[in-house]
């Protein structure tokens, strides 16, 4: 691991302490916005591990998120499992889904893979509607238990989850696994020639991405108190995740967090213009992507290249 200057560490620590102490000063509205943003940050960071490092374009991150969310939601609502156990079930379902998606994904690349991941979201959506008896269908599934009613407690849960997930994902990306994934992602033939089993590592990448996406999806369900297609499966959610990751800066992990917070805060700031807020956010994201492909982190002067 490269050495990080002490001043940076201190600055980071101060920043984290400020974040943790936010609820003391901020009101429920801001806390609520940030809580959602933190869960989105985990969605985006998991996506970046898969794309930025393994080079796998996943156009349907909500397939994994949705599996985690509904897995956890249904365990709690139908089977009566307590929240921690339900979250574990959600994570297992998401990982299983991730591996199932990985298998055809590995024989493809580029646009083929992208389309299939997108199709997986459509399939999940259809399945939820068809089995509406157990999933709640298009009107969603209410879960009896929530993490907390207090916005401060929810905020802390989300913050802690984001920091832990972010740290793990970041460490993976900088580890030998991360290096192998990058090598395999950028030049599969060369990686194979060097003796690395790119396939096994890619399945691992899918599984890790699925684990964190699924966990975040499950937590989101117990924050909102409901699992619904529009909240965790819809293509528009997936679009926002991808935008967040690319906007923040791909192949950085942290970029995903930055992009998510930026997008959600921007969406809130634009609320006064009402209906057109989604349009404006998409426009801003489009401009950034076309003009500054390295994203927000790429705008920093002393950022080292990936």
């Amino acid at each position: 691991m490269s050495t990080i200057p002490k001043s940076r560490l201190v600055a980071l620590a101060v920043f984290l302490i400020v974040l943790a102490l936010f609820p003391l000063g901020a009101n429920g509205y801001i806390l609520g916005v940030l809580t959602t943003a933190f869960y989105f940050a985990v969605f985006a960071m998991s996506w970046d591990l898969l794309f930025g490092y393994a080079g796998e374009v996943n156009f349907g991150p909500t397939f994994l998120i949705g599996l985690g969310a509904y897995g956890a939601g249904m365990s709690n609502a139908l089977l009566g499992l307590p929240v921690p156990l339900a979250v574990v079930v959600g994570a297992i379902v998401a990982v299983a889904g991730g591996v199932a998606l990985a298998i055809p994904a590995l024989r493809l690349s580029g646009p083929y893979l992208g389309l299939i991941t997108l199709v997986s979201v459509l399939l999940l959506q259809q399945a939820i509607v068809i089995f509406a008896g157990v999933t709640g269908g298009e009107i969603g599934l209410s879960v009896p238990d929530v993490l907390s009613i207090s916005s401060a407690v929810n905020y802390e849960y989300a913050l802690a989850f984001m920091l832990v997930s972010g740290l793990i994902l970041f460490l993976i990306s900088r580890s030998s696994l991360g290096m192998i994934l990058q090598a395999a992602g950028q030049d599969q033939v060369a990686a194979a020639a060097l003796g690395f089993n790119a396939t096994r590592h890619k399945i691992l990448a899918f599984a890790v991405s699925a684990l964190f996406s699924g966990l975040a999806g499950a937590f989101l369900v117990f924050y909102l108190g409901t699992a619904s297609v529009s909240a965790v499966v819809d293509i528009s959610i997936g679009v926002r995740v991808i935008i967040a990751a690319v906007l923040g800066g791909r192949r950085t992990i942290i970029g995903g967090a930055i992009g998510s917070v930026f997008l959600i805060v921007a969406g809130e700031l634009l609320r006064p213009i009402g209906q057109l807020s989604t349009f404006v956010v998409a426009l801003i994201a489009l401009v950034v992507i076309v003009l500054f492909p390295d994203g927000l982190l790429g705008l920093l002067p002393h950022r080292r290249g990936a």
Partner: protein, 291 residues
């Protein structure tokens, strides 16, 4: 009687699917672009056709022409404002261009959907059919509009085939899809060819949008579904293969129709989705796709 009903109805819906997916596959086959704003372009055509034709009241023909024109403009904006800058951008590494084009067109599609929703609300409408009335085919009462749509669709496909296989510029299109660099070496302007393809794509999407809008309806909420339907067909048939798209469209259309008639209308989409899953696992490049 039932068999003839299934035959006719299946043919109508399959032709619509083919029409909707055709431009999508063409633009990928020739210029390598997966335009995820495809549904947006088609809905623009339909909404303008309805607005000019019905809401303002200028009649279905003027409306259809207006829809076609605006869709063409939108397609060119997509090419000139989004696709081309990214493809020519030096900031984006070559192997990531596709992702950026995909993401950018996805965003553009969202913008189109929101803009349409703001302008027209998301209430669905139907484009006024160009020809009204019904006719009896072998005892089955069929709206003349359906026959008209099928005729136009096949005429367009025929014209496209002629263009690609029998004209000079068509052959250059084909060559560009196989080996763009070689074409440049031979001195042909790739930019001109791409522009030409996008013009054709704009017209195709416009025709598809207006015709689909007269049978299936349209509205800002249709944007993601139309894109999704197009690339489902294209994934099945094989990216970049026009004949693959056609075959896949008819397979999906008939499977859906058979299910709706013989099994249950609420399970209409299920067999096609199962087929899709099977194809993804068994033959991921699609029926006639190249790797």
């Amino acid at each position: 009687m039932l068999a003839i009903q299934i035959l006719i109805d299946g043919f109508a819906i399959s032709t619509l699917y083919a029409l909707g997916a055709l431009g999508f596959t063409l633009i990928f086959g020739v210029s390598g672009v997966l335009n995820l704003a495809h549904g947006g372009l088609m809905v623009i055509a339909a909404m303008i056709a309805w607005y000019v034709g019905t809401s303002i009241g200028l009649g279905p023909y003027v409306g259809a022409a207006a829809g076609l024109a605006v869709c063409l403009v939108a397609a060119l904006v997509t090419y000139g404002g989004i696709v081309r800058p990214i493809e020519n951008s030096r900031a984006v590494p070559a192997h990531e261009r596709e992702l950026f084009v995909l993401t950018a067109t996805l965003l553009w599609g969202v913008m189109i959907q929101e803009a349409l929703s703001y302008a027209f609300t998301n209430s669905p409408i139907t484009v006024q059919p160009l020809i009204a009335g019904t006719v009896s085919i072998l005892g089955v009462r069929t709206p003349i509009n359906e026959i008209f749509i099928a005729a136009v669709a096949w005429a367009v496909m025929g014209a496209l085939w002629l263009l690609v296989n029998r004209t000079r510029i068509g052959r250059r299109l084909l060559a560009a899809s196989i080996n763009p660099r070689a074409l440049t070496l031979l001195g042909f302007e790739l930019d001109q060819i791409y522009l030409f393809v996008w013009v054709i794509y704009g017209l195709l999407a416009g025709i598809a949008g207006v015709l689909l809008g007269s049978f299936l309806g349209s509205g800002s909420g249709y944007v993601p579904g139309l894109t999704g339907s197009a690339f489902t067909i294209v994934v099945l048939g094989g990216l970049g293969s026009v004949s693959g798209t056609l075959i896949a469209a008819y397979i999906v259309g008939y499977i859906e129709t058979l299910t709706a008639y013989l099994v249950s209308p609420s399970l209409r989409e299920v067999p096609a989705l199962i087929l899709l899953v099977v194809v993804i696992y068994m033959r991921p490049q699609g029926l006639l796709g190249r790797r």
